[in-house]
Symmetry: C2
Subunit: 651 residues, 2 copies
């Protein structure tokens, strides 16, 4: 079905044109007053500097891994890996660059028109560059892997025995591509995350609680670093992160298809090459049509006249993208699986089985989004309860927030667990992978909305710093708060899709590891699996702990520097003198770059080294333990964040 | 080997006599001034009232379960369950009663002698009643089950098919006994835990941070409730909790022995009834000799002349108990397994294999204790780092504490994982169960030291409240701080043993569930197991969240009441009027009793109900997920606690 690969390619080209068009249409807008331009330039430079420094650290690691792989494994794998890193890095870079151009233009649009609908459009257009680029680049990379290694693809069923593993070249090409994306995502998320949290904490702790000046006040030396953080963490970091999940979802579904057939083949069951090729292409086609749906949905918003209710507009856009993805794929499913003989494959809903599985992914994503909104929006009971306990002081509010956050896990996890079961029921292990594909298929829209948030946040900061009229700030604040609510839905998708992607990647690991022909089992009573499970669980927790500690370390330096400036620069607190923004940016950059290495290297090395020592069962345990604990930690993250905000207010 | 059961019985009788002797020797000491007597009576009455109310709630549930079990399953199971609840309840009650007599006598000993060695003896003697009673009662219950159901024990290899399960009556008698202990432990730990934390928070939040009076100041209306909390939470709750782990460890080892033989039998392998009976008795004999070692070690401390270095004394006592347990059991092992044919059992170290496995449990317990001490003692880097970041304010110290706490998981989990692997290597699945038995065999000593802590804490409170000389307070403070450090080692044991006990209980569940004859496998690729794993992980987290929320709720009420008293009772803050202690005790009691039901019922019902709906694979997943997350949450608990303390100081 390689014509579908062609269709996907055409859609990605369309995506690139659409992203480029939005990029230049936003850039052509005026930047506003000189003061605004100056502040925006500061932010832009800080963000660029950080990303360039980060990539400079990464490039050597990537070249090293690529060379090693080319020499010791195969040049196909090496090239696939490199394509992954390039695609991910590029998407993050372009998306972030756009965000740093868009922020000031959003402020200016609000300033000149005082029209929330028009301002919303600029912000979302800026965000859409990240969303669409991410989708397009991820798929372009996949298309390249498919096209360049056409021979590998044509000979899917030819196995090679290699170091004791049943080795299907094409599966390894795809895995390597996915791994390339993951590598960039890991460093981007970790580095950007440390940067943004440390800058945020540093600026707020001294500014809001010690000097008593409002958020984003230009007298605060950390305020520009805080804005830079939003861009490197919540734009570039988030983009690379979701690109990795996106690629992980469709690649692992394709790999699973190959593995299932190898297993069938080895057991002497009927083997249908055509069906296999269709099952390999299907996830990528599904995702490609998802990208198309996102473009259509965004076009609808950009050309809609009345956008005065931003919350409704963004919610509708997400819904349209989700539904359109489903409808378009119903047709693809028919095209690919009509008149096929499924043999003994557990397709309970006939030819529509993989679609039903994917749809359960979409539906559970929407459900988790609603649950996240319930737990994080100011309109519902949990947040109100927490806010209410502020009367009893900081200790009670932290305790309450922690308690509610931890118990808020349950509904989301139940939805995930049942979607997993349902998808398996519909189409077996391939179904669980397709659920991940479904959930992530319209991630372009989610990322656009998620990126719109930090752009609006930055816009508000610029308005405050350049002392614009209060009405301007009101508009950007409203956009920002809507962004927070819709981001909750986005987070719901991220949680769910990360789970599904991890589970299906793990499944493809298990299927690839298990010697072909044996029943695929991973025995929980095997103490190696159990020990791995414990270590994996601790690893997730330890990784988070190291990151939190890194933030505290970096924030501490920021706090000291900001305090120093308030003490040493005369006239700073009265607004007569200017703070040294650059020094704070430098501290945040250096902190993030030096702190990101240890946790990232640990995350990569521990599974590899322990696998070499204790074997693949141990690694399977590690993967599972790490995934489970990560879901639990991730699920109550948003709650904790909210709590921190409240705590700061309470203080 | 029923003569060994006789030996165990003799040791438990010795334990009861020893405990009774210590009880009356402590009670015969003078209570001190009238003021001290009055305060102690308040604490005693509060603690008694709470425990009685708690048991009153429980008794109906227990009678209900017992009746249901007797009618629908078998009266053997019903009686075993009831014995478990009685033993656990009794141990908690007697131990706590002693603690509430001992506290004031410790204060008085310090007051009259100003001798730290003598004071230490009184406190430890008081603590030893909980430790030794807990051990003795747990074993007496087991001996009763062995003796009363002698016929079941003699016909170990006679299986009954029952509701599709392979049913060995004796295994179910033991499981029911263990479940009885767990039921009491669950409610005691949850109820007592909510009580103590809410009272502690309530008293400190208003007293220390709002009114600025020192800890344990008699003007604080919550101060007696705080002391009561130590007794109901850290004495009765902890005692029941460790009794449950203790019983769980040796019972699950015995059950595993039965299951292994059923599996062997079904596969037509040679079956040796004598070896089976020895393997069933061995864990209980091991634990019995552990109790004997604890008694000897305590006698050594009580008769030692020079106890002026409490830290050293307590550490030595633990070491003696551990080593003596190992030596005595070396002999038992020889006695039981000499000249036996092990058939195809994976006993890699010959007849000493189960001993080697148990010893790895002891060793890893000691290692985890050392790790816990490193992370929580003021002498080492982690705590110093956290204390150091206090300069940067509350937010940084919380972040830092959370980060270090989360990353401190790793070393302990690594030790656990490798001990698990080593024990398995030594003696297969029976070995992992024996590692739990080894680690818990001298828990009597650990609990004695752990109970000595709250007694000293209470003693300090009484000294403060009755305005005794500062020197008295210095002695009790020193004892208390030593208690905190040695308690870290105790916590290490609790973490490790809970893990091992949970793993081996899970293994016995898996082995009992798996139809005899098939290879015991629990497939990780089975989506039911995976879904269960996710739900179980969320369950642990949700359970903790509900508890934390319950503490916040109850603490909120305490805060309001204490504030009200400071506002409405004239002359309270100057010390001219007395606060209404009883009202605070009442609030803490009512809060704990009403909040403990939901989480406890959830913890019991979810596995049962989901098992009925989704089957045993799902439940296996739940158990594993819950265990893994519980370990992770538990491992960084101590760190978080430390952090809270620092935070309060910082404020």
């Amino acid at each position: 079905m390689s014509y579908l690969i062609g269709v996907v390619f055409a859609i990605t080209v369309m995506g690139c044109i659409f992203a480029f068009h939005n990029y230049s249409s936003v850039r052509s807008l005026p930047e506003g007053t000189e003061e605004m331009q100056e502040i925006a330039a500061h932010i832009r430079m800080g963000a660029n500097t950080f990303l360039k420094s980060e990539y400079r650290v990464l490039v050597w690691a990537i070249v090293g891994v690529t060379a090693f792989t080319a020499v010791f494994l195969s040049w196909h794998i090496a090239i696939s890996f490199m394509i992954g890193t390039i695609m991910s890095g590029l998407a993050g870079f372009i998306g972030m660059k756009m965000a740093t151009y868009a922020n000031v233009r959003v402020t200016n649009m609000a300033r000149t028109t005082l029209d929330i609908g028009k301002t919303l459009k600029v912000a979302l257009k800026g965000g859409s560059v990240m969303g669409i680029c991410m989708d397009s680049f991820a798929l372009i990379g996949a298309v390249i892997v498919f096209t360049v290694f056409k021979d590998d693809f044509q000979s899917l069923n030819s196995e090679v025995n290699w170091c004791g593993f049943t080795f299907v070249p094409f599966a390894y090409d795809m895995l390597a591509y996915s791994l390339g994306c993951s590598t960039i995502a890991l460093f981007s998320r970790v580095g950007g995350g440390i940067y943004t949290k440390a800058a945020d904490m540093g600026a707020d702790l001294v500014g809001k609680t010690e000097v008593n000046i409002p958020e984003d006040d230009p007298r605060n030396p950390g305020v520009i670093a805080d804005c830079v953080g939003d861009n490197v963490g919540d734009v570039a970091g988030l983009g690379s992160d979701l690109l990795e999940s996106y690629v992980g979802s469709f690649m692992s579904a394709s790999i699973l298809a190959i593995s299932i057939f190898i297993n069938y083949n080895a057991r002497g069951q009927a083997f249908i090459p055509q069906l296999l090729q269709n099952m390999v292409v299907y996830p990528i086609a599904f995702s490609g049509l998802g990208l198309f749906a996102c473009i259509v949905s965004l076009l609808y918003v950009f050309h809609k006249k009345n956008n005065n209710n931003p919350h409704e507009t963004l919610n509708n856009a997400t819904w349209i993208a989700a539904m359109l993805t489903a409808i378009l794929n119903l047709a693809t499913t028919y095209l690919l699986f009509n008149n096929q003989d499924f043999g003994t494959l557990p397709f309970r809903f006939g030819l529509f089985s993989p679609f039903v599985a994917a749809f359960s992914g979409i539906a559970s994503g929407v459900a988790i989004g609603a649950i996240s909104e319930y737990y994080t929006s100011y309109d519902y009971a949990p947040t109100k309860k927490i806010a209410n306990s502020a009367k009893e002081g900081a200790a009670i509010i932290i305790t309450k927030g922690l308690g509610l956050g931890m118990s808020s896990n349950m509904p989301s996890v139940l939805v995930l667990a049942f979607a997993l079961l349902f998808a398996y029921l519909a189409a077996g292990i391939y179904g669980t992978a397709m659920a991940a594909v479904g959930m992530l298929s319209f991630v372009g829209m989610t990322v656009s909305v998620d990126t719109y948030g930090p752009i609006s946040d930055n816009a508000g900061g610029i308005a405050e710093m350049s002392k614009l009229d209060q009405k301007v700030r009101e508009i950007t604040d409203k956009l920002d708060s809507v962004g927070n609510t819709t981001a909750a839905i986005g987070k719901g998708f991220a949680i769910g899709s990360a789970t599904f992607a991890a589970v299906s990647l793990m499944n493809s690991y298990l299927y690839t590891y298990i010697p072909a022909g044996s029943d695929a089992v991973m025995n929980l009573m095997n103490p190696l699996v159990l020990a791995g499970l414990l270590v994996g669980a601790a690893l997730s927790c330890c990784f988070s702990g190291i990151l939190i500690d890194a933030v505290a370390k970096s924030a501490k330096k920021m706090v000291n520097e900001i305090r120093r400036q308030f003490k040493e620069i005369k006239g700073l607190s009265t607004g007569e003198a200017k703070p040294d923004y650059a020094k704070c940016i430098q501290i945040a950059t250096e902190g993030a770059l030096s702190e990101m290495k240890t946790p990232a290297i640990l995350a990569i090395c521990i599974p590899v080294i322990s696998g070499l020592i204790f074997g693949p069962e141990f690694v399977a345990g590690i993967l599972l333990g790490a995934t489970v604990v990560a879901i639990i930690l991730f699920c109550h993250r948003s709650k904790l964040k909210l709590d921190t905000i409240k705590f700061q207010i309470g203080n």
